[in-house]
C-alpha cells in the first residue's frame, strides 16, 4: 500500500486499483474540533480536484477535494456519530471514503510522505 498527499492536505492510500481518502493530521490541526462530515454518496463519480466532501468545524466549513478521479465505493459511516475520529485518528479510523481509480497515472502528480512533510514544514 502506498500513501500519497495533496497540497490541499488530503491523503490517499492506494492498493492496486483501490484507494482510501482522508485529510492529514496537519489539516485536522488547522481546522480544530471537527463537528460534522458531509460525505459523498457511494457510487458517485468524482473528478480530480472536485469537492467531494465537506468537513465542518464550529466556525468553518472546508471542502475536501478528490485527489484523483474515480468512483466512490464506500464511505466511513462511523463519522456520522463520531466526527471527532477525524481529529483523533485522521490517517486511520478517521478516513472519509474509499474509491476506485479511473486513471492511476494521476497519482504521479501527488506528493509522497517525505515531500509532503517538507511542504508542511514550509507553511
Amino acid at each position: 500500500m502506498t500513501r500519497y498527499y495533496t497540497k490541499d492536505h488530503e491523503w490517499i492510500a492506494v492498493e492496486g486499483n483501490e484507494a482510501t481518502v482522508g485529510i492529514t493530521d496537519y489539516a485536522q490541526g488547522q481546522l480544530g474540533d471537527i463537528t460534522f462530515v458531509e460525505l459523498p454518496e457511494a457510487g458517485a463519480d468524482v473528478g480530480i480536484g472536485d469537492s467531494a466532501s465537506v468537513v465542518d468545524s464550529v466556525k468553518a466549513a472546508s471542502d475536501v477535494y478528490a485527489p484523483v478521479s474515480g468512483k466512490v465505493t464506500v464511505v466511513n459511516a462511523a463519522l456520522e456519530d463520531e466526527p471527532e475520529l477525524v481529529n483523533t485518528d485522521p490517517e486511520g479510523e478517521g478516513w472519509l471514503w474509499k474509491m476506485t481509480l479511473a486513471d492511476p497515472a494521476e497519482l504521479a502528480g501527488l506528493m509522497d510522505e517525505a515531500a509532503y512533510q517538507a511542504f508542511v514544514a514550509e507553511l
Binding site: F36, E38, D56, A60, A61
Partner: protein, 452 residues
Amino acid sequence: MRYLPLTDADRSAMLAVIGAGSIDELFADVPAEARLAAPIAGLPGHASEMAVERHMARLSANNTTAGAVPFFLGAGAYRHHVPASVDHLIQRGEFLTAYTPYQPEIAQGTLQVLFEFQTQVARLFGTEIANASLYDGSTACWEAIAMAGRITRRGKAVLSGGLHPHYVETARTMARFTGDRLDTAAPELSATPDDEAVIARIDGETSCVVVQYPDILGRIPDLAKIASAAQAAGALLIAVVTEPVALGVLQSPGSLGADIVVGEGQSLGVGLQFGGPYLGLFGCREKYVRQLPGRLCGETVDADGKRGFVLTLSTREQHIRREKATSNICTNSGLCALAFSIHLTLLGGKGLAAMAKLSHAAARSTAAALAAIPGVAVVNSHYFNEFTVTLPRDARQVVRALADRQVLGGVSLGRLYPREEGLAKAMVVAATECTTDEDIAALAAALKEVLA
C-alpha cells in the same frame, strides 16, 4: 438633540485627540462633489417628543382599528387577545435592546428563550425539531420548498389550491429566479378540499407537496392521506399553518406525517400590526437538521459544566458558507418569537385548547347568523375559526360597503385572487375568542342591509 450626549466642548476635545479641525474634515474621503455642505434642503428639522407624538397620533387616528368595530378578518392574520404581561415583558430592555446572542456568556436569557421557543414550536407542530424562527409564514413557506429541493434533489413543487395566494406569489417570485418549477392551482369553492386532486399532481419529479392546514378557505385537508401519497412518490409533505391556534383543537401536522411544518406565528403574542413584523415558524424531522434554514439554538455546557445554550450548526449559514449557504437569512424574528413564547407559556396546553374552542364556537355562531341571510351560503362543511361564504354580489364591493357601516366583515376573495372571476362573489370570515355576540349581530345586520 435629546438622543445625542456629546456637547460642543466634548466634540472639540475629541477632535483635538484625533488631530482634525472639524467633524466635516473627518469626511475627507468622500469626493467633494458628493459631500453635502448643509442639511438636505426641503426636509424638516428636528422635533420635540411631543411634536412627533402628536403627528403620529394624528396618523394613527386616521384608521379604523380592529378593536373598535365588529371585526371578522383573517386570511393569514388573526386578532386574538394578548395578555398585558406579554407586552410588558418584551419591553424589558435586556430583551428589547439586546443583539443576536453571538456572545453566549452574556446572552443566556435570549438563548434559553430560543431553546424554549424551539421546543414549544416542535411540540405544537408535532415535529422533532424546530428553528429559532424566520421572517414570516410566507418566507418560511418558500424556504421549506427550497429545502425540500435540496433534500430530494428534485425541482418541482406541487402547491395545493388552498395555499394562501400571497404565499404562492412569494414562492412564485423566488422560483422564477432559482429555476424551481411550481405546480399551482386556484381553489375551488367546494365544501371540502380536493385532496385527491393534489395527490393526482404528484409525480416522480415532485420534491414536495405544500398543503395549508386549515386552508385559505378555512377547510381542513386530510394531511395523513396526502403525506402517504407524497412519501410513496419520494416527495416530502410540507404543511403550512397560518393560524397556529387551530392546533389547540386539531391534530398536529407532524403527527399526521408532515415532513416539514411551517407557519405564521402572528396570532400568538404578536398582534395584527398591519402585516408585520410577524413570525415565521419552521419545524421538521431531525434527520434534515443540516438542511434547515435560519438560526438554531442548542444546549451545551460551559467550562464549569453548567448547562448553557449557544447558537449552533452555524456552518449552514451565510456568514460561514457564503454562496453555498442554505439560505441568505441572517436574522430571526427574535422579539416576535419571545412574544409568541410568553403568550404560549401563559396559555399552556389547556389554555390554548380553550382559546381554540372559543374561537371555533364564535365562528360557528357567525356562520349560523350569516347563513340565515337570503342569498348568503356557507361553503365549508368543516372549519376551525374561519369559513367562506358566497354572496349574491361581488364581495369586494360588499366588504367596502360594510366598512362604510363601521363593520370589518371579512376578506374578499376578489382581492386575494383578482384574476379568478369564479371567486369574486366569495368572502372569508374569521372569528376568535375576541368576537362577541353583539359583533356577530352587527355583522349580520349590516350584511343584510348591504345586500338588500
